[in-house]
Structure formats: C-alpha cells, structure tokens
Amino acid sequence: MTAIKRPLRRLLGRSTPDPLPATAPVPAAPVEQPGVAIDIPETDPLFAYLQSAPGPVDLTKLELVSPALEELRVGGVALVVPLVTQGELIGTLNLGPRLSEQEYSSDDRRLLGTLAAQAAPAIRVAQLVREQAAEAGERERYAQELKVAQLIQQQFLPRELPQLRGWQIAAFYGPARVVGGDFYDFIDLGNGRIGVVVGDVTDKGVPAALVMARTHSILRAEAPRLIDPGAVLARANDLLVPEMPARMFVTCLYGVLEPETGRFTFANAGHNLPYVRTADGVIELRATGLPLGLLPGIVYEETDSVIAPGEGVLLYSDGLVEAHDPNREMYGFPRLREAMATDDAGSELLDRLLEELHAFTGSGWEQEDDITLVTLRRSLGTTDDAWSEDRPEIPVTRDDAPDASTAAEPILAFTIPGAIGGERAAMKRVADAVSQYGIEGARLERLKTAVAETVMNAIEYGSQGNPEIPVDIRVDVDPDAIRVRVTDRALSGPVPDAEAPDLVAKLEGLQKPRGWGLFLIRRMVDGMDVHAADGLQTVTLTLARDGH
C-alpha cells in the first residue's frame, strides 16, 4: 500500500474534460504536491504504448522518443498506470517515486494493475455520462435558439399583402430548419405608392434575426420619409454600419412601385437582381451597390423601369437559386429564368415557380436556406378580376405532402391571431364556407367541433395564446373530400398526444378533467393528419363528401 499512500497524481487522457492546469516541474518526491495533468496527444508514441501496455509502466526505464514522456518525467512521474477499457486508453494514474526511494515492487504493480482494471470502466461510464449531458444541454440550447430566431423573424413578416387594383401581388417565405435571415416587406408610402423590400442577412439564428429586425425597422422608418430607393438604402446603410456585428451584412433590394403607371424604381444593396417577364422574354433589371452594413457613405444606383400590363417582376432570395437536387446540382439562375419564361398567363407566377422548384429538388429535399419570393404582376385589363380575393394571406406555408388538392385554389384561406377563444369565429367561417358544398346537419356539426378543437390546439400550443403569433386556416374542396388545414407556428413543439381520456379515471380524480381535444377530433372527422416541418405544424382534417 505504500505506493498509493502518495497522492494519486492525475494525468488526463484524451477525453477527460476540465484538465487541471499543468504544474511547474515538480522537484522529486515532496510528500504532498498537486497532481500533474499532462495531455498525451493520440499522435504521441506514448499513447499507443500505454494503450497496449499490460500493466503499470516504469517511466525511468522506458526508451521512447516522446514529448509527453519527457514532460511526465520533468513533472516527477515515475510510474504510469494506464486506464484502459475496451481497448481504449481513457486516462492514467501517475505516481512519483516511492518515499522509500525503492522501486515499486511487483506487489505494488499488481495492486495498481488491479485497481486500474476496476476503475477504468467506471471512469469511462462517468466520462460518457458527462459528455452526453453536455451534448444534450447543447442540443437543447440550440433548439431553443432556433425557436427564438423563428419567433423574431415571424414577427417582422407582413401579415397581409397590399391589395392594388390591376396588380396581383404574391409572396412566399419558406424558412429553412436552421432559420436564415430572409425578410420581405411592403411599406405604404402614400399617394398609392408601395415600397417593396426583399433582403437577406448573412449568418443564421438569433444574431441574424436581430439584424433582420433592426433593418426592417430602419426601412419602415426611413422609406416613407425619403421615398427614393437610393436614398433609403444609403440611409439604412449608414445607420447599420456602426452597429453591425462582425462578419455580418445585409443584402437588400428596395423598390418603389407606382401601381397606376407601372413605374418601378429600385436600388440594390448586393441582392439578387430582379427578373421581369415581358412579351419579348425574361430580362434582368440591373442596379449595383454594396450590401448594407459593410462600409459607410455608399451611394446606391437607382434603376427606373415600367412594368407593362401583362408583365411580372420577381424578387427572390439566394435560397431559391442555391437549392440542390438529390445529385447536389444547383437550381441556378438559368433554370429560374426558364421557369419564368415558360409561365403562362393563366397560372400564378409564384405557384408555378414553387412547383418547378419542388419538381427539381424532389420530395426528400431538406431546405438548406430560407427561400423568399415576391411577385408583382400587372394584369392585362384594368378590371378588378385580376385581383384574386382568395389568395391566402401570408405567410404561406410550404406543404410537401403529395396532395393534389393543395395545388388548386382553396375555397377559403385566412389567418387569425393566436388569441385564446379565437376558435369560435374560425369555426363559424369554415362552417359557412363548407355548407355551400353539401356538408350539413350532423356532419357539419362534427366538422365544426373538429375545426374548433384543432384551432384551439393551434392557439394554445402553436401560438401559446399569443395574439401576435398567427394561425393559418385553409379549406380545400375536391370531388371526394373537404380538407381543412390548420397551420400553427409550433412554439410548443408537437401537440402532446395525451393519454387517452378515461372518464372513470377523471371522475375519480386520477386524470385531469381536461384532455378531450384530440380524442374528439379523431371521432368527428374521417381523417386527421399532422405534418410538421420548418417550424410549422399543419393538422389536416378530412371529411368525405359522400359520407353520412
């Protein structure tokens, strides 16, 4: 036992966290001294030697060219006991010379060898537990940050599209799982003019979302005052430069549309150039300027154009052109241009572009970056019929489900604030719409209950009762079925599928009185399907049209 009366000096193996600071060279054999923590790199010959050593290793006799060995010797270590479990060196016990100045006996070594053999697996388990706890904590922090970033970003996306006579304006925002910094906005400039913004903050997560929020506020404040796109971007740039975090900047295109004349004037801070589809093909509008937040005093060039009746403008973010197919081929500008050119006047430009994109990426696509599209299309005539009343309010959800009915126009689409109690009015709107499609009596009542309960869940879990966090509701009718889709922002993650409600247990106080929502929904409709992606959760309720 003499050998281990000395303090067990600790030498850290490759995966032991929080190493003690290495001490200065230790004079030989003081009675009490701090442990020597020396990391042995895996590349050091000593590492392989210790890993395969059959027991304690006498350093005084070891002949090996090894920096770690030298360091240990300088630190006063005479005997190293490798801690090996499952063939892996996880640490060592380091001992100085015996107090008696005699060599370690074979008994000492055997005892130490036995101790190491028993301690190694236990230490490894402790290491793994600690590593896993750290990883879990890290994952949780990351998930939390994603949620916060999504929340910030969604706060600043417009809730409504501007309604302009003679124009069809559509917007799509598809967040990536790791939220990027895309944004878009429409700003009322007075005199019928509309400011249109599309931007992208480099970087992702909360920092990008905060810069996006700041840029949004600056543009909202400055655009109505300065109007001219070049002046607005120059001002935004000068305000952003001093407060921009390192290695971040914002690309942004800002334009002013005069709906009456079709005049579209814009300036560009390093963003993708807009495409215009004309009768003669697709053209690119050009304007140059550095991204916002890099250098002060930038002058932004303005470009003036007129969008003729029948023409359409596309503003978009990188996420569209940089999307990849399963073979890692990029969607790219030529494909986008082609998709715009082949668009026919009968379909929505934006819907068609998204269809093309999804056909390219395939169904298993994991979106790498946010995708933002804004289309401004001037109709041929001057009548109101070009303006579709039924376009869903934004943000529009991306639905990957292979479901033909999503391609058709919904009979009803609307967005409600995520405020407790809002389900009652939503239920009534849906009921009024579907009652014109032969759903009545008991079936209508059942659908009403299912819709109310689904919207209630969306408000309670998806929006956490916050009126600022919207819930989207969409109703589609096809020959076989009516589908009601309720999309929330999944703030609480998936709706918990609570234990099946048991009335007896509830009456006895063994279950809480609540927990009837999902139970009722499933019994009220013919199908209920939950689809979660990109920070959104959509519950689809299906009611067969010929069922009774």
Binding site: A442, R446, A452, E453, L507, G509, P513, G515
Partner: protein
C-alpha cells in the same frame, strides 16, 4: 371580448332539485359561472342538479372538462346530475365521452321554476 360568455341561473321548482339554466358558450370562460352556480345549488340542499343546455349552442373540450369536474363533485356529494336540452350533436359527444353513462340525458324542462340565487 367574449359576448357569449356563459351565464348560469340556478333555479328551483320541486323540492330537492336545482336547475342550472345556462346561456352562452360552455368553454374555458365558463369556469367561474358554472362553479358558482353549482355551489349555489349545493347550498340550496338539492339532491338533483339539472344542467339545462337549451340556450347553449357551443361546447368545446374545455367545457367538457368543466362538466366532468362538476360531475365529479356531484358524485362525491351524492347528487344526481341530469342534462337537458342538448342538441343531437352534443348528445353524441356526451355519448362518446361516456358522460351519458354517469348522468341522465333528458328532454324538456320543468314548469315555473323559481330562483334560488347564485346567478353569475
């Protein structure tokens, strides 16, 4: 904000019976009104509590939970609970939630009841 917030009038006609005449939505906002009305019924010494849903046209899952809670209290206090005036749809919901196994589902209302107080 909710002009359909439930009001409940606790009435009595025959000895030992309290009628809770509800008007509005039976949802989360109905909590206090329903609890107060049941308390008034209990105080009147009623052994039967009639829940009159004639003027109710919306009951959601949180409302079901309130009824479950009321039913649990009534069973503990050895009071019978009778539901009246439910629409066919809510009869179906009371059936699939099995509430109808623990309360009588009836039609019609008794004549000329008089208030026992405890309105809210």
């Amino acid at each position: 904000m909710n002009d359909r917030r439930l009001t409940v009038e606790a009435l009595t006609s025959t000895a030992g019976e309290a009628r809770l005449a509800m008007r509005g939505d039976v949802d989360v906002a109905a909590d206090e009104a329903l609890a107060a009305a049941y308390a008034a019924a209990a105080e009147s010494g009623a052994t039967r509590v009639v829940l009159d849903f004639t003027e109710v046209d919306y009951i959601n899952s949180t409302g079901i939970a309130l009824i479950v809670r009321l039913l649990a209290e009534a069973r503990r206090d050895h009071r019978d609970v009778i539901a009246e005036g439910l629409t066919d749809h809510y009869r179906e919901i009371f059936r699939i939630t099995r509430l109808s196994d623990y309360m009588t589902i009836a039609d019609g209302t008794s004549a000329s009841p008089k208030p026992v107080g405890g309105t809210s």
